[in-house]
């Protein structure tokens, strides 16, 4: 459904834009309907840049991003872009700053209605809103007619997902949507993503937290300095990490029932086999090697 093929993004940096920073380097991946793909990486790995390019907020410097067969950079004009956003929507990290504090929180629904469904009658629209709220498991009585400061972060975040569901979306870009939520409500939003997946939605789930990436996703992509370090089915990537960087990252994740010392001792006792990593001499391309079926490793960046 969504396909990125050899996508690059180069930013101009420095006082006069003289410097170049390759934020995304030769990334190719796909998202199918009903599939959750986690983009996992530390800060500066390019994970949010990929999300923003898919949403059309940035243009890739090279490569193609296609959605249902159309190259999204060829979408021009207001009407065509609007059609694209009818099918692809994003939800971002900070739910508190997505709402205008002067207006009631459900105004976000009205905004969708006025730009996409101006001819829908009040009754039909109300049913649609209630339906979307039921999907995100919010009680309409608790959230409709309230101001943003009266709602919790988890409720606001779910309102934003409900807003996206009012449109006929096929792909949701979820950029760090739970990092600002409390532990007790985090899991509800994650479970909601799993529900949406069962309804056939494709989700690009951007996160820095490996345990959250693991919980919902079918496919994991670990990024490092803009390039893919490892990509494959989530269970394989987490059970048998092949790239040295993924192994290092996994050994640093604080776990609930094992201490770092235990994890290190275990690694020491059974040192993993090394795999041959692909090399790239030009500093631009980032080839992948298929080490197992559907399980790829990327270049070694030291």
């Amino acid at each position: 459904m969504l396909e990125l093929s050899h996508v690059h993004k180069v930013y101009r940096v420095g006082a006069f834009g003289g410097g170049r920073l390759r934020a995304v380097r030769d990334v190719s991946l796909t998202v199918e309907p009903g599939e959750v793909v986690s983009l996992i990486g530390e800060s500066g790995s390019g994970k949010s840049t990929i999300g923003k390019m898919v949403l059309g907020l940035f243009r890739p410097s090279a490569g193609r991003i296609t959605f249902e067969g159309t190259d999204i950079t060829t979408i021009r004009g207001h009407a065509a872009r609007k059609e694209y956003y009818r099918r692809v929507q994003g939800v971002f990290q900070d739910p508190f700053s997505c709402f205008n504090p002067i207006f009631k929180a459900d105004r976000v629904f009205e905004m969708v209605r006025s730009s996409y469904f101006p001819r829908t009658s009040d009754a039909v629209w109300k049913d649609k809103v209630l339906d979307a709220l039921a999907t995100v498991r919010l009680d309409p009585g608790n959230v409709l007619g309230k101001y943003p400061h009266q709602l919790s972060g988890g409720q606001l975040q779910r309102l934003l997902i409900a807003r996206a569901l009012l449109l006929d979306i096929k792909l949701l870009v979820a950029d760090e949507i739970i990092s600002m939520l409390d532990a007790s409500t985090r899991i509800d939003v994650l479970n909601l993503l799993a529900d949406l997946k069962e309804r056939g939605l494709g989700i690009l789930f951007v996160t820095h937290d490996l345990s959250l990436g693991n919980y919902v996703s079918d496919k994991s992509v670990i990024l490092r300095k803009g390039a893919i370090a490892e990509m494959g089915p989530t269970a394989r990537v987490f059970d048998n990490p092949l790239h040295p960087y993924s192994r290092h990252l996994l050994s640093c994740v604080p776990q609930l029932h094992r201490t770092w010392a235990e994890v290190d001792a275990e690694l020491e006792a059974n040192p993993p086999e090394d795999v041959t990593l692909p090399t790239a001499d030009d500093g631009e391309s980032a080839p992948l090697i298929e080490a197992e079926e559907n399980h790829f490793v990327g270049i070694d960046q030291g």
Binding site: D182, L190, S211, L249, P254
Partner: protein
């Protein structure tokens, strides 16, 4: 016993009345103990950390006492606290990365800070360099501006500065929350190292990330809506929590290796109560599946086994 906090009450003054952010908090912290302080946002964990060093203008000390190394800590008297700050009690603030003065080179900033506390910078200069090396920084960072350092480096610089005078108590407020996992581990491990070397006698590590606290703390204290709900050795809180809130909180954490295929985890329904007009009795009773009639009275924090404290009628 390094620190003894007894029935501490600190309220925030607002136009609509007092917010009961800390409502009777009691705990002890032993020498050499690293205590992880965990809870959801708004549970009072940051307020507790701040109360031990400086009340800001909106905070009011309503009751309770704090004792450090056998001496009373006069938190309500701002001037009397001055000699204690930095020398005895030190804090790494929540956004330590922005705690450095952007207009000063780090070395100069440290000198100014030390002079303000009545310490001659030359007396501790060698120690400062040694400790910077210990956390893996080149002492050359003293000649640089904060903007030249990465987030993890700034965090470690702040950590070294805060502990330079060997305080008895260090309060670390969400120090690793803004860092990447690998930097997070390095910072957490250097904090343990500082305790092991005796640079700080004991530490309160405030965080919302229970799995991180489990990696480094000796004990964990869980707070909910201004009350302490449970305090116990780290392993006990994770593996055998007794308070229903702690049990549900730990049950809601996904781990590496947990997937929706193996069964879904559940969150805690509802939201924490507002503290402007807190409910009577147990503050968790509205979200608690085990609540019964007695929960309308406030459960006391009792020691259910040595070193394991919980505040729930069902565990007592």
């Amino acid at each position: 016993m390094t620190l003894r906090v007894n029935d501490l009450k600190v309220y925030y003054q607002t136009l609509r009345g007092d917010v009961h952010a800390l409502d009777g908090v009691t705990f002890d912290l032993a020498d050499g103990e690293i205590m992880g302080l965990a809870g959801e946002s708004g549970c009072g964990k940051t307020t507790l950390g701040k109360s031990l060093i400086r009340l800001d203008s909106r905070m009011r000390h309503v009751g309770g006492t704090i004792e450090l190394d056998g001496k009373d800590v006069p938190i309500a008297d701002d001037n009397a606290m001055v000699p204690l700050r930095y020398h005895e009690i030190s804090l790494i603030p929540q956004y330590a990365m922005s705690a450095l003065n952007p207009t000063r080179k780090i070395g100069r900033m440290v000198d100014e800070l030390l002079r303000a506390r009545g310490v001659r910078p030359a007396d501790v200069a060698d120690e400062l360099r040694r400790r910077l090396e210990l956390v893996g920084l080149d002492p050359d960072v003293l000649n640089r501006f904060p903007i030249e350092l990465s987030g993890g480096m700034k965090q470690r610089v702040v950590m070294v500065i805060s502990t330079l005078l060997d305080p008895s108590l260090l309060i670390a407020d969400e120090v690793t929350s803004a860092l990447d996992v690998s930097t997070q581990r390095a910072v957490a491990e250097s904090m343990v190292e500082f305790r092991d070397r005796g640079y700080v006698k004991s530490m309160i590590f405030v965080t919302h990330d229970i799995s991180l606290v489990y990696q480094m703390a000796d004990t964990i204290m869980v707070m909910y809506a201004g009350h302490v709900v449970e305090k116990a050795p780290a392993g006990t809180v994770i593996n055998e929590p007794r308070h229903p809130y702690t049990q549900m909180l730990i049950g809601a954490l996904p781990e590496v290796g947990t997937t929706t295929v193996q069964g879904r985890l559940e969150g805690i329904p509802g939201t924490p109560p507002g503290l402007l007009d807190p409910p009577t009795g147990c503050r968790f009773k509205d979200r608690c599946p085990m609540a019964f009639s007695k929960c309308s009275e406030q459960p006391p924090l009792v020691e259910i086994e040595p070193g394991h404290w919980a505040a729930c009628w069902k565990t007592g």
